[in-house]
């Protein structure tokens, strides 16, 4: 009883934590990685299931039969496009109007941050064309079928199929939502311009004409990419901007109609493993899972649908793949799948919200929910927590190390950690992160104005400049020492840095698991292992100093390699033989300026500060320990700064630097 309030037991507990810390850390890290790999295996993956009642059964009879029409429209579109060299706006308007849609256009332009390397252009301008199929009710909800068109003449089959579907849909009376058929120019740039104009916001500095026709709140969107008259399989892409994912029900819907139509559907280009009993199935799903994690961690939209997700519109991209398989499907099969999906979405009473928004997909019909994949990241972050706990114990029970539990602690632990002294390095590293976020864009303009460099080079150079400036960071943060116990400084700083890192990683993991997990897997070992090392100055503590020459102070530079250096708690105190001058490393005596002088030494990381009396030793000037230059500051603040930049990018609503909107090559 009273486990934490009893000093004896508390000390025992602390000892246990300190002793078992390293194995626990290793175990936790390994457990995290192993858990992650185990996500692809059946006990952790579940079968997907439709949660939304309104889309529950697949009792929809698809009647689309406009395959020939789709092909001829696609041919016409391609021909007109070749002739005009751009999107054939007039032809599209005419065709959409002839099938009975309300047609509108939107022109947009955007100055590119970098010139397009193939065309050497800074200004991109284009025209989006969209037609609205109206229905009986008052245009409060709508669905979107979008076809992004790039600079080359791909995707014309998608336009053809879309128009044929529009003609078919127009003749039906069961629509309860408006359907918007959207053809965007310049791929994602056009999609973003249209979305911004539709929601009447401007977050990427796009110039565009206002939309004349609207159709209420968009409930779901499907982007279509087809470049051949026949397909062997349909690939579905879900990863959106900053790793956002659509509601799982939308994917389930697609999968349902894949099965119903007998279509071959792939995820990340991989077929669904058939055999889960042997090792091949799970191995294939591990591959799929890793591919998805990499895609999601990159944060860039994996198709035009990715931009819809930012506006809380559930969306996915369907890509027709034409490979060398024997059996091929024509456009009717794809059209029927789309018709089925739209008819199901038409039944929705509320926007999709029933199923999961956070999931990983090891296969098309299997998913891992957030409750099951978060432990993997949790184990990794536990390492940081354990390390922080260890440091905390050391700071508060410093005397109670396992080897000298019997003796009295040499230092009375009356002095707490000077938290105020941590403010400066924390602020510096925060500022560093902010600079990394802002400066490349600012610096790019400055650099191109004053130096003969290209735009793209300017960004790289600015980044390099900031990283170079970052190397000077220890100079600015080395003042973190307490007067009494020199090691307490870096310990406190590392403690704060570890907790900060863990919090930030946890935040990133919540919003974008893949990015958070990959960052944690790479950063956690470095952050946990880092200790002050390299050039180091050991302060002669007062009672060690008793036998030193009275007229001066000396610092010893411990030149032993980091691995062989004494453990931190050892370095806190005089080494066992510290009272003999011979124990100092010979030839490394550095005279320090007079205490009253208070001038900083030019030597790196070394500073002499105005002496002030230590407790109980009035008038005796002594040095602050010059801060273990790379210690508390070390790489950790830099890591934190990098991390902060990543976090800012994730949380920023504008989210994407304009680069992510560039036309895909």
């Amino acid at each position: 009883m009273g486990l934490l309030s009893d000093p004896v037991r508390r000390r025992a507990l602390a000892r246990l934590v300190l002793r078992l810390n390293a194995p626990l850390c290793v175990l936790s890290y390994v457990a995290g990685i192993a858990w992650f790999l185990a996500l692809a295996f059946p006990p952790l993956t579940q079968r997907t299931y439709m949660s939304e009642n309104a889309m529950g059964s697949t009792m929809v009879e698809e009647q689309f039969a406009g395959g020939d029409r789709a092909r001829s429209l696609a041919r016409d579109f391609a021909a007109h496009r070749r002739k005009s060299g751009a999107l054939p706006v007039a032809w599209l308007e005419r065709t959409m109007r002839s099938v009975g849609l309300e047609v509108y256009t939107q022109s947009f332009s955007r100055k590119l941050p970098f010139p397009d390397e193939t065309h050497e252009r800074y200004m991109v301008s284009g025209i989006n064309v969209y037609g609205i199929l109206r229905h009986l009710a008052a245009s409060t909800e709508s669905l979107v079928l979008t076809v992004p068109c790039g600079p080359d003449s791909t995707n014309s089959q998608a336009v053809g199929l879309m128009l044929a579907l529009a003609a078919h849909f127009r003749g039906q009376i069961y629509w309860a939502k408006d359907i918007i058929f959207l053809v965007t120019e310049h791929d994602l740039l056009g999609t973003e311009a249209w979305l911004e104009a539709y929601h009447d916001v401007n977050i990427t500095g796009m110039q565009s004409s206002p939309l004349q026709g609207r159709a209420g709140a968009i409930q779901a969107a499907v982007a279509l990419e087809l470049s051949s008259d026949v397909v062997t399989s349909l690939d579905v892409a879900v990863e959106g901007l900053n790793g956002q994912l659509p509601n799982l029900d939308l994917l389930n819907l697609f999968q349902t109609f894949c099965q119903k139509g007998g279509l071959l559907c792939t995820l990340q280009g991989k077929l669904q493993p058939q055999d889960w009993t042997s090792i091949d199935g799970p191995l294939q799903s591990v591959q799929t899972l890793l591919l998805m994690v990499l895609q999601q961690a990159s944060g860039r939209p994996h198709g035009a649908h990715g931009l819809f997700l930012r506006y809380r519109v559930e969306a996915l991209t369907l890509r027709g793949i034409n490979s060398f398989r024997q059996y091929k499907y024509d456009l009717v099969a794809v059209g029927k799948a789309l018709e089925g999906m739209f008819r199901k979405l038409n039944h929705l009473l509320e926007r999709l919200h029933q199923s999961f928004f956070f999931y990983l997909l090891p296969a098309l019909s299997r998913f891992v929910s957030i409750g099951l994949y978060m432990p993997a990241a949790g184990f990794l972050l536990l390492v940081l927590g354990l390390k922080a706990l260890e440091l905390w114990m050391q700071l508060h029970e410093a005397g109670v190390g396992p080897e000298e539990a019997g003796e009295n602690p040499p230092h009375p632990l009356t002095q707490g950690v000077g938290l105020a002294s941590l403010v400066a390095p924390l602020l510096v590293s925060q500022a560093m992160g902010l600079a990394l976020y802002i400066l490349p864009v600012l610096g790019q303009h400055v650099a191109t104005q004053h130096f003969p460099v290209a735009e793209a080079e300017a960004v790289v150079l600015t980044l390099l400049a900031i990283y170079a400036a970052g190397l000077a960071l220890p100079h600015n943060t080395h003042r973190v020492v307490s007067t009494q116990a020199p090691d307490r400084g870096w310990m406190a700083l590392k403690l704060v840095a570890l907790i900060y890192l863990a919090l930030q990683l946890a935040c990133i993991t919540l919003t974008n698991f893949s990015l958070g997990f990959l960052l944690a897997a790479s950063m956690v070992p470095a952050a946990a292992i880092t200790k002050p090392s390299g050039p180091r100055y050991v302060l002669l503590s007062p009672h060690c100093r008793a036998r030193t020459p009275p007229h001066g102070f000396y610092l010893t530079r411990s030149s032993s390699p980091p691995g062989a250096s004494a453990p931190p708690q050892g370095a806190l105190r005089c080494p066992a033989g510290a009272d003999e001058p011979s124990s100092y490393t010979p030839g490394q005596l550095v005279p320090v300026a007079g205490a009253a002088g208070g001038t900083a030494l030019p030597d790196r990381g070394l500073a002499a500060l105005p002496g002030h009396a230590g407790p109980g030793r009035a008038g005796a000037p002594h040095l602050r320990r010059p801060a273990l230059p790379t210690a508390g500051s070390g790489p950790l603040p830099l890591l934190a700064a990098l991390l902060e930049r990543a976090l800012l990018e994730v949380t920023e609503a504008a989210g994407s630097s304009p680069r992510s909107l560039l036309p895909r090559k």
Partner: protein, 505 residues
């Protein structure tokens, strides 16, 4: 002897009203009218109007009793109710005769003898809810406003004190056959004869736009306005989709649209007409099966007696298409000087926002009125059963007096077709339109009402309970206390036991 006399008297009584009716002009009258307008987009609009006039003192002959009692009980001066499914697309269909907002709209003027207008309004909406099978009982103070500039009385009015006006819109109301049936029952011929045989529900609701309305107002009985009668107008507008109904072809017939044909007029009606707009078409490229066949045409109007049609026609062609082709953006930095702005801020859960602006629009311009709002969390009981559907914002209303391009001939108001005589016109150089915007669906932040939400709540509770006991267990020190020697009672008991020779407690 007595029996034949009684029978004779009975017969006299039965014949009585008819006899009076023949003797003097009937006090109650019914006019019915159907206007069929081919729209520029290829769709076809059909507007039914049934007008019943009623003298206050007479019996209920044609006028529905349910509404007549309503007027006297709640001291109504005017009542306008519309139930609409769909949205009139002015850009493609031209200016409507009478537009209504999507959902249900109700506005009423009360007599100035009414003391508690809000109470009467509440009761009125509840009664109407029962009559029309609509959810009008959801009208309460949170969605009722009192406009000060728009919604002037359409009928005879002595004063316009706006405190006797109430206006409410329910954008979410879905209109279906259960609303059409009671509406049809108000007609004197029901759906047995006359134009109303065309009102077949399964066709009327397969359209792009369906709006049915009831307007009650006091009107003059004659040109000199010596006496006042109550006018009940029942209007029903539908727009048939050319692509769905006509398979993409532009020709149409009554049978194809309504799957019925007209066989006989309503015997109670004093006038029963079908107007067809053939202005924008050549001759005879439609097949039109109507009874009686078109006998009188005046200029471009079939089966019309008076020419009031050209006004609309020319406006459609010239005014509408001109403004459609121009596209100059104009945003108001601030409202113009001679404007009138009335803003009544909302009180949470009490009354809605009301913003009225009287502005003069420059020609060929686009005016954009945007309202910034914040999304807030509601109280958890205030969420609808389908919170993720979103919340509706009522459509806004635009009332305008548009100058005519061609001055209309001042005609006899009583004799003009019904579609032209709903809104009173002060002079012939301009006409009145009232347009509505689409309702808006706004999704508010919604708590997760699903199973994980409950799990989180439950888990947090359990953790909180466990945390308390564990913390207690870890931090509190327990000591064993020596039992005390015993109280007075025990000592006394031991004394007695010792006296008895029994071992003490």
């Amino acid at each position: 002897m007595a029996a034949p006399v009684r029978i004779f008297l009975l017969v006299l009584l039965l014949l009585g009203p008819g006899g009076w009716g023949r003797a003097e002009p009937p006090r109650d009258s019914l006019r019915e009218e159907l206007v069929i307008t081919p729209l520029p987009s290829g769709d076809v609009a059909a507007t039914f109007q049934f007008r019943t006039c009623w003298e206050w003192v007479s019996h209920y002959r044609l006028f529905p009793k349910a509404l007549g009692q309503l007027i006297s009980k709640y001291s109504l001066r005017e009542l306008h109710l519309s139930l609409t499914q769909g949205f009139w697309r002015t850009r493609y269909w031209g200016t409507p005769f009478l537009q209504a907002p999507s959902g249900a709209e109700l506005w009423a003027w009360f007599q100035d003898t009414v003391t508690d207008v809000d109470e009467s309004w509440k009761e009125l909406s509840n009664v109407l809810s029962g009559i029309f099978c609509a959810s009008l009982n959801f009208i309460d103070s949170t969605n009722t406003v009192t406009p000060t500039a728009s919604f002037k009385p359409l009928g005879l009015a002595n004063g316009t004190d706006h405190s006797f006006l109430r206006y409410a819109v329910l954008p979410r109301e879905v209109v279906c056959t259960e609303n059409l049936t009671p509406w049809k029952k108000l007609l004197p011929c029901s759906s047995k004869a006359g134009l109303s045989v065309l009102l077949k529900a399964d066709r009327l609701f397969h359209t792009s736009y369906h709006s049915q309305a009831v307007h009650i107002r006091p009107v003059c009985r004659n040109a000199r306005c010596t006496s006042v009668s109550w006018e009940l107008r029942q209007t029903l507008s539908v727009v048939f989709d050319a692509f769905v109904t006509g398979q993409g072809k532009k020709d149409w017939s009554l049978f194809r649209m309504f799957s019925r044909t007209l066989t006989e007029p309503c015997p109670l009606a004093s006038e029963s007409r079908v107007y067809v707009d053939v202005t924008s078409y050549g001759q005879d490229n439609e097949t039109l099966e109507v009874y009686p066949p078109p006998l009188t045409t005046y200029q471009d109007v079939i089966l019309g007696t008076r020419k009031t049609y050209a006004v609309y026609d020319l406006l459609d062609a010239a005014v509408v298409s001109n403004s459609r082709s121009l596209n100059i953006q104009l945003k108001w930095k601030r409202p113009p000087e001679n404007g009138y702005i009335h803003y009544q801020p909302a009180q949470d859960r009490m009354q809605p926002h009301l913003l009225e602006m009287l502005i003069q629009l420059p020609a060929s311009s686009i005016t954009k009125v945007s309202i910034q709002f914040e999304r807030a969390l509601l109280k958890w009981t205030e969420y609808t059963p389908d919170p993720n559907h979103g919340f509706y914002v009522s459509p806004s209303v635009l009332s305008a007096l548009v100058p005519s391009v061609v001055a209309a001939k001042p005609g006899d108001w009583e004799e003009s077709p019904l579609f032209n005589s709903l809104f009173p016109v002060s002079d012939s150089s301009s006409y009145f339109v009232r347009l509505y915007t689409e309702p808006l669906l706004v999704s508010l932040p919604t708590p997760d009402f699903s199973m994980p939400y409950n799990v989180v709540c439950l888990t947090c509770t359990v953790v909180a309970v466990c945390y308390g006991s564990f913390y207690n267990l870890l931090t509190r020190t327990f000591q064993i206390e020596e039992p005390r020697k015993g109280g007075l009672v025990k000592r006394l008991a031991n004394l007695i036991r010792r006296a008895r020779g029994v071992p003490p407690l």
